[in-house]
Amino acid sequence: MDDAEVPQEDNVIFKGLRKAVYARGVDGKVRPVPSTGWQVEEIVTRQALDLLATQAEEARQRALRGEASPLEFHMCCARMDLALLSQCTGIWQWRVRRHFRPEVFAKLSDQVLGRYSEATGVPVEKLRNVEP
């Protein structure tokens, strides 16, 4: 990739940030050049974000229908999966999965909710419902 070919395609995900990519200048030397982004990178990052958003929305709908607790929704919003939430809270996966059941979740102590709050960055009172 030569200097002139470095994409400057304003990746909206960067929010104005520029990243350094290495490219060959007219003198033949390869050096870092700031880039505003490449559509290819934006497509694949957006794909990953869309997937997370879809999962969160599905979890929200399940919670609204009373089929799941809000915990699953907040886990998705924090871009976590079951394995990561389990590791971050020190609560076994089967227990976390149980806490996805609304009737079990309703009875959780403040102490356990506090661990979920710490891991997801969502305050305890917000964990109880699905408002983002």
Partner: protein
Amino acid sequence: MMTFQHRHASHCESGVMAALVTHAGLPLSEPMAFGLASALSFAYIPLVKVGGFPLVAYRALPHAITKGLRGALSLRMAVETFRSVGQGAARLDALVAQGQLVALQTSAFWLPYFPEDLRFHFNVHNLIVFGREGDDFLISDPVFEETVRCPKADLTKARFAKGLMAPKGRIYYTQSAVQAPHWEKIIPAAIRKTCRTMLAPVFFAGVKGIRSLARAIEKLDAEQAPRFLGHMVRMQEEIGTGGGGFRFIYAAFLQEAAQLLQLPILETKADELVTIGDEWREIALAAAMMIRGRQPMEPKRIATLLRAQADREEAFFRSLRALV
């Protein structure tokens, strides 16, 4: 306040190590830090899952650059991790108060200065703390153009994130001035090590790893293919790679090596590697067009491109090995 020069880098670990070593008295470019640590690689490890997908990496494992440079430059470096959050935070406070330049391992997810949509649970993001103003740490994050600030509470959270490769508050810093090394000894050794990795006789690494990845992609069905390909392209082109799966940054290293070793043939190899990097970007572009639906989804076509790429890299690293 210390005099510290922030430099924009393409990859966090090589950027941090280049800055630490430069600050300790030996001017070192990011490509030189990357190349000397033999950080160029390829790995496809089906058993290790990243976000639900097999690990695909175009570089050595996290910490390899730190370890590689410690050996190559005989750095005196302290590395500390902490069991308790309180102790870890206090230790950083104390070192910064002493005027020490400190590098940290953090989780990108908890760093407030990251754009919202780039905040993933990535636990091996490296950055440098070069000072403090009130409750804010002054940070040189190599992947950012300018220095940034981060409140102590957020930085502590980022340092003690849990999960895969949890940082455990890891900090590292140089402990003495760095002397100029014997370039004519350590550069060829580093190049040989990279060639060895790329030509390793195992299915999951180097050019054989690329072929294994091609086989896996060939077998994907229409439902799995877009997400798998997206994952591969993210590992290759997302922020932190310098583009072309680190091949361009290694080309810059070969150019510097050609100068230091008086070995002009390495300039030619650098140009070849730039071409190889361009081919990686062509693969990424083809995959992205398929993901977006602008081209029909044909995993087999990507597999064919990957095999051609494996052949190219095999020839390249064989001839490079013969030169040093």
